[in-house]
């Protein structure tokens, strides 16, 4: 096998292998139980064969008038023992290994979540689409089979082959050796050989499925245009071509897997046939008892169970590999993102409201045709309020992401209170800078839990006060479950306006020194917005504020604006407008 491919397969799976290794004890115990089940199955069939042959020969001898005896109780007990052991160990094994797999799933999810928590804003926003998330969970599920579908059965089969060959060698070394040679080559083929034959097709299958999803999405989303231009059939032909490619790969996989299944049966069959012939020859030479001669091929026959599942699992190894590769790529993305680079940052700006400066800041997303921001200079004195206006796409959200360090600028410098943003410690930054994002994200949890994101220690009275500030207290009090009411997935059980106000309440529980508010009153009626503005004004006193707004003067403006700047196409496009005295 070419080394480079092998090495890369091993390298791809290594991080996940290491994750499994943390539960080594459990994995070994689970594999041990699997082995015990296989061994009991072998013992049951082999001993039964021995027993029947021994009794038949004894019966014949008795009929011939010879006085021979056979202890029927020990083998009879042995048969019952193997029968019970096989049943019990199978049950315990399934239970135990399922427990292990679920533990591994918890590990995998935890690890992956940790990885994603370190990704930057751009990487995350490209991956927020629900189809991507579904794929992510599918990848995790694929990887959790690494132990139970691939590693454990392969290891157990190998051990069973070694043990069985050793056992046969005790009676007849030649038979042991022949079984070892035949079964070991079969094992190699069923694992490595199958994996190699199926690798290209199983990876190709994953890619084709992905391409098909993408094209189908286009097809369904663009149905109006495709239909009117009469290009439906042409686009459908593209879909068909991908599906044909997919099915070519799947057909190849099916043939390879079927070949493996047939070969597994054939290899075990050929082995017991060879062992039978060797044992019969030894019996004829008087070197072996008749019952043992029967025991040997039957023991090999029972091995079928240990090999049968291997080809199917290993033919599809490419899918596991692809899943691991995608998840590895996610980790690699973290390596280049801001959070990872800034791990060592630990400085803290002086206490009190933060002054902010942006000096010739530029931001260029990889692959974008034009920069999102270029040469942006502005400064916000401590404790003042700046309104940054602009149409959607002008770069307001990019500024918010830069200020909250979800993105790193591609050019220029940002300082908070005179300290470079990239030097500020992560915990300090999160404590002192708060941001109300344009889209409020709520979790599928209770009202209280969502609010406590702002302050985990807040008591109920404080939560109620925060709700009162955004005029949700009466509404919440009328709910049968009060603060324990669940808001549903993404806050779906409450209205959009309520979700926004809840997001604001969550922010009011914090004590930040710089506050970034993206369209704080969007989706609220004018009267409510006006009342909220007054309370917000009070809370914002003594903090620096950046408002991001589409346009001022349309509805209720955010309170206490000192200065207004307008963004167009990623740069300041008009003279700043002083509303009140602006210290420069």
């Amino acid at each position: 096998m070419p080394d480079s491919r092998d090495a890369s397969l091993i390298a791809t799976l290594r991080p996940w292998w290491r994750l499994l290794d943390r539960r080594r004890g459990r994995l070994l115990a689970g594999a041990g139980l699997l082995l015990l089940t296989v061994a009991a199955g072998i013992g049951l069939l082999a001993l039964s064969g021995w027993f029947i042959t021994a009794t038949a020969l004894t019966g014949l001898a008795l009929a011939a008038g010879l006085s021979v005896g056979l202890d029927v109780y020990v083998p009879g007990g042995g048969i019952r023992f193997f029968a019970v052991t096989r049943t019990v160990s199978r049950y315990v094994e399934r239970l135990y290994n399922h427990d292990t797999v679920l533990r591994l799933l918890a590990d995998l999810r935890g690890r992956l979540f940790g990885v994603m928590a370190g990704l930057d804003g751009h990487t995350l926003s490209r991956r927020r689409a629900s189809d991507w998330l579904d794929r992510l969970t599918a990848d995790i599920d694929t990887l959790d089979g690494l132990y139970l579908r691939l590693l454990a059965p392969a290891a157990v089969a190998l051990l069973a082959i070694l043990a069985l060959s050793g056992l046969l060698a005790l009676w007849l070394p030649r038979a042991g050796l022949a079984a070892l040679a035949l079964l070991l080559s079969a094992w190699l083929w069923l694992t490595l050989g199958q994996a190699r034959c199926g690798m290209a097709a199983s990876r190709g299958q994953i890619e084709a499925l992905e391409a098909l999803r993408g094209r189908l999405f286009e097809h369904l989303r663009g149905l109006a245009e495709l239909e009117t231009y009469g290009s439906l059939a042409a686009h459908r032909a593209r879909l068909d071509a991908i599906e044909r490619r997919l099915q070519v790969d799947q057909w190849r996989l099916a043939r390879v897997a079927a070949l493996g299944t047939a070969l597994a049966g054939l290899a075990v069959g050929a082995t017991w046939l060879v062992v039978l012939v060797l044992a019969a020859l030894a019996w004829q030479a008087g070197a072996l008892a008749g019952p043992v001669m029967v025991l040997m091929p039957l023991a090999v026959m029972a091995l079928n169970e240990a090999l049968a599942a291997l080809p199917m699992a290993f033919t599809r190894l490419g899918a596991t590999r692809a899943a691991a590769e995608r998840l590895n790529a996610l980790e690699a993305a973290r390596g280049t993102s801001v959070a990872a680079v800034l791990k060592e940052a630990s400085e803290a700006p002086p206490r009190g409201p933060l002054g902010v400066t942006l000096d010739a800041v530029g931001l260029h997303y990889p692959g974008a045709l034009q920069p999102a921001l270029s040469g942006l200079c502005l400064s916000l004195p401590a404790g003042r309020r700046l309104a940054l206006c602009g149409a959607s796409g002008a770069g307001k959200s990019s500024v918010a992401q830069l200020l909250t360090r979800q993105l790193a600028p591609s050019a220029g410098r940002i300082t908070f209170g005179g300290v470079a943003l990239e030097a500020i410690g992560e915990a300090t930054l999160r404590e002192r800078v708060a941001c109300l994002t344009q889209r409020v994200e709520l979790f599928d949890d209770s009202l209280a839990a969502n609010l406590r994101l702002g302050d985990p220690e807040a008591d109920a009275a404080r939560l109620w006060r925060a709700l009162a500030m955004v005029e949700l207290a009466d509404w919440a009090a009328a709910l049968p479950d009060g603060l324990e009411t669940r808001v549903g997935e993404g806050g779906r059980r409450i209205s959009g306006g309520q979700a926004r106000r809840l997001g604001l309440a969550r922010l009011l529980l914090r004590e930040p020194e710089l506050v970034i508010l993206d369209e704080p009153f969007a989706g609220l009626d004018a009267a409510t917005a006006a009342r909220l503005a007054d309370r917000l004004d009070e809370w914002l006193a003594g903090r620096s504020v950046v408002y991001l707004v589409h346009q001022l003067g349309e509805a209720v403006d955010p309170p206490g604006i000192d200065h207004i700047l307008t963004l167009c196409n990623g740069t300041l496009c008009a003279e700043g407008q002083d509303v009140s005295g602006w210290d420069r």
Partner: protein, 568 residues
């Protein structure tokens, strides 16, 4: 086995759909069954040969050399059995591949018939995902479960007959080990069913929690709560583990029962045969047993249970397929609008003759939605060649519906729509379609035969000449997934370039300048002006005042009330 995930609605159920799909691909399924049956027969023959060989060696004391033909026969049987096994799997897969392709085509045909308007109620990416993955989830059911369902009855019966012929008492032991095969299967089924349901729902809940937290990860970052959330993700997964283990303990019992019977049957048969051979049993056929028959009965005992165990293993394929089919059948049950058949809707509809210069006529059309009542009309409208009609009105007045009606995406509830015989039209969406591929691929959607110079010309007219010059590979520049790297205005103008390329005389535009800033809007309007100057007929639905300047004629819609004003 009990009825489960069947779709709620009357008519097509998940099971019915699955069997209809299976119906259409009988040939390969029969082949799989035949091969599976051959495996069963080969197994019996192989075991018989083995028992006979051993008996000939040990009891008749014949030399191994004399038995060479038997050995060759055994080898041949082994080979044939492997071949049949291969055939069963491959034929099953061939059937499944064809069925899946047909299922996907059927679904896609149906969605195309539903049309763009009806599809807006669905999440596009989710729908595509379902068409791919839920159809794939049908695989195991057709390729493995269906043939095995028959084999799990046929093969044990075959073995039972052979064993009964050898020794009816041993056959009786097998039979009481598996009291009645259907009952046994129900037991397996219930256990596996429960296991599946528990596991599906536990995994779904777990995935739901995980996705919920990932979706909100930016918020967690901003609040500095990621470490805590990571611990929570692990804790929730662990909690699910503990809860699902409690139910798994019960669910696994059913397979343990199967395992128990299979093991006990071997043990009972071995001990019975052994004692009979020793002459300890005087009852029934016991004293007629020989090593040959005794050994064969023993060897067949595990094979009696093997097909049932395979069926239990494939049981989750069935559950997965039923779950997927239930979801897909709800799509198939959505009836398309009358008048939206398999035929392309751009064809002229027979009816009364139209005025010579008119492109499209609406005669007393109304449009009603279930639950919302009448949303449009009654409305009479005649569009003549070369005019520009601007449709205005508050949101909800039916502007988009009118355009969709003109395009034939919706059929009128009352009244008639007439289209000139050769009329083709172009559609400009609020969110235009961008396909993955080059700029040229995207343009050719409108005119597959367009030459490079025609495409350049169209881009220039749409105001994208400057962009084209900046692109590294010109027309062959790849636009990337979902048009990343193009601004909203550029995407809109690219769609306009498509309109310029297409020969369609009638152009329908739904809010062509929504979500554009003033400067970009002005450029798009400029391009629209050029389009009108080419002599095309434009129908523009909008509430932007700037677009009104283009109008030859205006149509102001008010909620379910129409007033037409004619501009000079």
């Amino acid at each position: 086995m009990k009825a489960d995930t069947d779709a709620e609605a009357p008519g097509l159920t998940a099971r019915a759909w699955l069997s209809r799909l299976a119906e259409g691909e009988r040939r390969y399924q029969r082949l799989a069954l035949l091969a599976g049956g051959a495996v069963g027969i080969a197994t019996i023959v192989q075991m018989a040969l083995l028992a006979a060989l051993i008996s000939a060696l040990l009891i008749d004391e014949r030399a191994l050399q004399d038995l060479t033909p038997w050995l060759l026969g055994l080898a041949a049987t082994l080979f044939l059995r492997a071949l049949a096994q291969w055939g069963q799997e491959v034929a099953g897969q061939a059937a499944s591949l064809r069925i899946r392709r047909r299922a996907r085509a059927e679904l896609l045909d149906h969605l195309e018939r539903l049309g763009p308007v009806r599809l807006t109620g669905h999440h596009g990416a989710g729908l595509a995902q379902r068409l791919v993955d839920q159809v794939e989830a049908l695989d195991g059911y057709f390729s493995r479960y269906l043939p095995q369902q028959v084999l799990a009855v046929a093969i044990p019966l075959m073995i039972l007959v052979v064993v009964a012929w050898l020794d009816w008492l041993a056959a009786f032991f097998l039979l009481i080990s598996a009291p009645l095969i259907p009952l046994f299967m129900a037991l397996v089924g219930m256990g596996a069913e429960r296991l599946n349901q528990e596991q599906f729902s536990a995994v779904a809940r777990l995935a739901g929690h995980f996705i919920d937290r990932v979706r909100g990860i930016t918020t967690l970052q901003l609040f500095g709560r990621t470490a805590q959330a990571t611990r929570e993700v692990e804790a929730v997964a662990d909690d699910y583990r503990r809860r699902s283990m409690r139910t798994l303990r019960l669910a696994f019992l059913s397979s343990a029962v199967l395992e128990f019977f299979s093991s006990v049957a071997i043990a009972v048969v071995a001990i019975y045969v052994g004692f009979a051979l020793l002459g300890y049993i005087d009852y029934g056929p016991a004293d007629e047993l020989t090593l040959l028959t005794g050994l064969l009965v023993l060897l067949l005992a595990p094979e009696f249970f093997q097909p049932l165990r395979s069926l239990a293993q494939h049981y989750h394929d069935r559950a997965a397929a039923l779950g997927a089919a239930a979801g897909l059948v709800t799509l198939l049950q959505e009836p398309p609008d009358a008048g939206r058949g398999a035929e392309p809707v751009t064809k002229a509809e027979p009816g009364r003759p139209m005025a010579p210069d008119s492109l499209l006529e609406l005669d007393g059309v109304t449009l009603s939605h279930v639950g919302r009542g009448r949303v449009l009309g009654p409305l009479d409208l005649r569009l003549s060649c070369g005019e520009t009609l601007v449709v205005t009105g508050p949101s909800g007045a039916g502007k988009s519906s009118l355009l969709q009606l003109m395009a034939g995406f919706l059929a009128p509830t009352e009244g008639e729509r007439h289209l000139a015989a050769d009329a083709r039209f172009a559609w400009l969406d609020q969110r235009p379609l961008l396909i993955q591929g080059s700029l040229a691929d995207n343009l050719r959607l409108a005119a597959p035969e367009a030459s490079d110079s025609q495409m350049r010309e169209a881009l220039a007219r749409a105001g994208l000449a400057a962009l084209l010059e900046r692109l590294p590979d010109g027309l062959e520049t790849s636009l990337g997934e979902r048009g990343e790297g193009l601004s909203g205005g550029q995407v809109q103008r690219l769609a306009l370039a498509r309109v310029f390329l297409s020969p369609a005389p009638l152009v329908l535009l739904d809010e062509p300048t929504a979500s554009l800033d003033a400067r970009t809007e002005a450029r798009v309007i400029e391009a629209l002006g050029r389009l009108a100057a080419e002599g095309r007929t434009l129908v523009i639905a909008t509430h932007h005042p700037a677009l009104l300047a283009l109008a030859d004629r205006r149509l102001a819609l008010e909620a379910a009330l129409v007033r037409e004003t004619v501009d000079a």
